[in-house]
Amino acid sequence: MIKQHFFIFDPSQCFGCFGCVSACVNVNKTKEHWRRVFKLPPCNGMSDTLYLSMSCNHCEEPACVKACPTNAMTKRKKDGIVLHTCERCIGCKYCQMACPYGAIEWDEANKTVAKCTMCHERLDRGEEPACVSTCFGGALALKTVDSVEKIDVLSKEMIGFTHYNEAKPSIRFTQKFNVFDQKEHL
């Protein structure tokens, strides 16, 4: 079985502050926004705006890795992190086209693509990814390979996010508070 870290996202605790986006920029010293926060307006009977924070989902079967002609995109065996090696990248953008989640950014300065690394260097030091560690709402979490057996109880989809089986994105959703129903009916 593949060893895989998972991002866990709880829309009931995210309030769209963009702290995760900025933390990623700050820690990774990049100009591009590897993580993005999508605003999901009130719809389908929900009374509130929801937010979805998403970066590269480090898919179990990553389309970017399959599309890359130079093996610049690779998947690490020990934790399933999909990594991009700048030196091998020829800037063809095939991975960008292949990624079903639009998670790969173009780095104009280097003329290569760039993406979330799940802060693997921080993980190796025993720290959380930047986005997870700064989240005021506690909406973002990381489930590491060690605790992965409990992943099946979590939802693979949420409104605004499709789980493509061809790719098997490593992101799951929870809800501490109920948000998909209407607010307390008064």
């Binding site: 702290g19 920029v25 700064t134 005021f136 709402g137 948000v179």
Partner: protein, 683 residues
């Protein structure tokens, strides 16, 4: 060998009342890393979107690095030396003084200066008092009318957010969106829910905070007095109010009770445009949840022409429901820690008819030409004050405008004659206070190029004005230690604070007003205020029609049918850093003003999501991008308050009478929320 050095400071934004802690690491190669301070008692290592990108403030090629001057407002800026710049400013101040018009020189200091709390509370007022010039504090647009309401009831709130949220069983965010304006409150708000408490948000808009709340009530904008008084009506009618507390510690209950009869829930439901059962449910929460706390951290309600009454009506619900002076009860509000205020030297301020710090007085002084020189310290009036076209005309008539800031901003570009380069918060030693704690803001870097801290150039300017003792200390550290010599600060020293990156607790009560002695003439909580009556205000919390509203001014609403709500997003802090145009990360997240509009209003005008429109009324116009969303109610539009486009159309109505400011020192918030507008698509 590893020579990395670690410093602790706080975030350079002024979220109220608590700023997150920063940990700054300077590496061997002089590169800097900024992360959250994991020791900080409130933020615990987390930072919001602005805090995470604050290194971009320091290390920014667009920083002002040298004093600049231009001969005419249309001309180009040229470099000049600090000495020449200060000579010119001093010459103008001296000439005003010699002509017997000390008040004609005004110093306006705002959030940029408030970053350094000591500058804001002590060092800048000290300069203005010793020099004998007009002083305007940038807090007036934020919360000054809220302050009047607090003064009139005798109850300032001041409960600590963390302690309150940990202990409360119901948190009411009344017209507050802390998720957008104070993200570090969120873990504490969620804690209320985790403890099986209830979180209620009262806001016409669907806000980020509403999304995290159990209950969201959406009254029509500006009808809060009706909602609060109807709740009181139900509590009194059902006899579910705390009679013992009210009888013992409140003044004027009989008059209040008589007054509140007029605010029936049925009528309130019609006026607030919410179902009656929502009002009843709220009243039930007030009656049954104990302790209950109301979050009034920001001054959103004060931005209504009827703001003083709105806040009073809400504050009255706290003693009525018996939630005063108890842990987890009361109103969460600003900071309460007093420095050594003697250092402000108020007694040495020469007499002169200084225009008061009330927008009506400011507007009048500028309009009548009573002020001819404006020193703007860390502020941006030509973006943040209302009615910009009028303010531009007033600025045109000023002889000299000096702007001290980190970056070129709207005021500097449009009206500045002399520009002075400011130090960032990492380049000076400073202090912060929150509602209970004191923190050191350590100096990490030497000032960039010719940037100087405010107290340093004010000292040089003072000497030119013949004042030798503005800065009598040998170092900034000695100065800060002197500022900390107060009862609340307990004479803590900079060195002690340096050893406590988690902050040191000040001498302020955990549950304010636990002894039930209030700051009012009767020493009770005043439901009825005789003082208010003497100041030509209603002595009881009363709804008054707004000066510009869909139902209140129907004729005007025919021409301008949309009610504009000024709001806040996490990505911006007022117009800091030229509306964040110079901070790449933030700029990318909201690069231009966005006007939120209901789908029905957009459909009526044939507007698509994302199209550019002109927002206008009789006062002015601005270009904005439309976002179609049901987050705003029909006939309402909302916009982030950081953009000058908003203030092209806002009003300079200042309904708070000047005599209130004379008496209380606060009052006079512009009515940013009473604005009618229309939009038209661009051809």
């Amino acid at each position: 060998m590893n020579q990395n050095r670690t410093f602790y400071t706080t975030c350079p934004y002024n979220c109220w009342p608590i700023n997150c802690g920063l940990q700054v690491t300077v590496f061997d190669d002089n590169t800097i890393e900024i992360t959250g301070n994991p020791h900080h008692d409130f933020s615990r290592g987390r930072l919001c979107v602005k805090g995470q990108s604050c290194l971009e403030i320091v290390d920014n090629r667009k920083r002002l690095t040298t004093p600049l001057k231009r001969a005419s407002r249309n001309g180009q800026f040229q470099r000049i030396s600090w000495d020449n710049a200060l000579d010119e400013i001093a010459e103008k101040i001296v000439s005003n003084n010699r002509n017997g018009h000390r008040e004609a020189t005004a110093l306006y200091h705002s959030h940029g200066n408030i970053v350094q709390r000591v500058n804001w509370r002590i060092l800048t007022p000290r300069f203005a008092n010793l020099a004998g010039i007009t002083l305007w504090d940038g807090n007036f647009p934020c919360w000054y009318d809220v302050g009047v309401a607090q003064q009139l009831t005798g109850y300032w709130g001041l409960h600590d957010p963390a302690l309150t949220c940990e202990n409360t069983s119901a948190l009411i965010n009344w017209a507050q969106d802390p998720c957008a304006s104070q993200a570090n409150m969120v873990p504490y708000i969620l804690k209320v829910r985790e403890n099986n408490g209830i979180v209620v948000t009262i806001d016409p808009r669907v806000t980020q905070t509403a999304a995290l709340s159990d209950i969201h009530i959406r009254p029509r904008l500006g009808t809060d007095v009706w909602l609060a008084n109807a709740i009181a009506h139900i509590l009194i009618q059902n006899d579910t109010y705390d009679a013992d507390y009210v009888n013992e510690h409140c003044h004027g209950f009989e008059s209040y009770k008589e007054h509140i009869v007029n605010y029936s829930p049925v009528e309130a439901s019609r006026i607030c445009e919410i179902p009656i059962n929502e009002i009843e449910r709220l009243a039930e929460i007030f009656a049954e949840s104990k302790p209950l706390s109301i979050n009034l951290t920001r001054g959103a309600l004060g931005k209504h022409s009827n703001g003083i009454q709105m806040v009073r009506s809400i504050l009255c619900l706290i003693p009525l429901s018996g939630n005063l002076g108890i842990k987890g009860g009361g109103a969460i509000w600003g900071e309460a820690i007093d420095w050594n205020m003697d250092l402000c030297c108020e007694e040495r301020r020469p007499d002169a008819p200084y225009p008061l710090n009330n927008f009506a007085a400011i507007d009048d002084a500028l309009g009548q030409g009573h002020v001819n020189t404006l020193l703007v310290v860390g502020g941006n009036p030509l973006s943040q004050w209302p009615n910009l076209s009028r303010l531009r005309r007033q600025c045109d008539n000023l002889d000299l405008v000096v702007v001290y800031d980190l970056f070129m901003n709207h005021t500097a570009r449009e009206a500045g004659d002399i520009i002075l380069p400011a130090t960032s918060w990492l380049e000076e030693l400073g202090l912060r206070t929150s509602s209970r704690n004191m923190y050191l803001m350590d100096k990490v870097l030497e000032p960039l190029a010719q940037c100087r801290e405010a107290s340093s150039w004010m000292n040089d300017l003072s000497k030119r004005l013949g004042i030798e003792d503005y800065f009598p200390w040998n170092s900034k550290e000695e100065c800060l230690n002197a500022c900390l010599l107060s009862k609340a600060c307990r004479g803590v020293t900079v060195e002690e604070l340096r050893n406590h990156p988690e902050g040191i607790e000040a001498d302020v009560p955990q549950a304010p007003y636990a002894e039930n002695v209030f700051d009012s003439p009767t020493k009770k909580f005043e439901l009825y205020s005789k003082e208010a009556l003497e100041l030509s205000l209603s002595p009881l919390p009363t709804h008054e029609p707004s000066i510009e509203g869909i139902t209140d001014t129907p004729e005007l609403a025919q021409r301008y049918p949309l009610q504009l709500i000024s709001s806040r997003r996490n990505t911006h802090f007022h117009s800091f850093h030229n509306s964040h145009n110079v901070i790449d990360t933030l700029h990318r997240l909201e690069p231009e003003p966005i006007l939120c509009m209901h789908p029905k209003d957009a459909f009526d005008r044939g507007l698509d999501d994302g199209c550019r429109v002109v927002l206008f009324n009789k006062r002015g116009s601005g270009r904005v991008k439309v976002e179609i969303t049901t987050e705003v109610p029909p006939k309402h539009v909302s916009m982030n308050d950081c953009w000058p486009e908003l203030n092209e159309v806002t009003a300079s109505y200042t309904p708070c009478p000047i005599k209130i400011t004379e008496k209380f020192g606060v009052g006079g918030q512009p009515a940013y929320q009473n604005v009618l507008v229309e939009v038209r698509g661009e051809k």
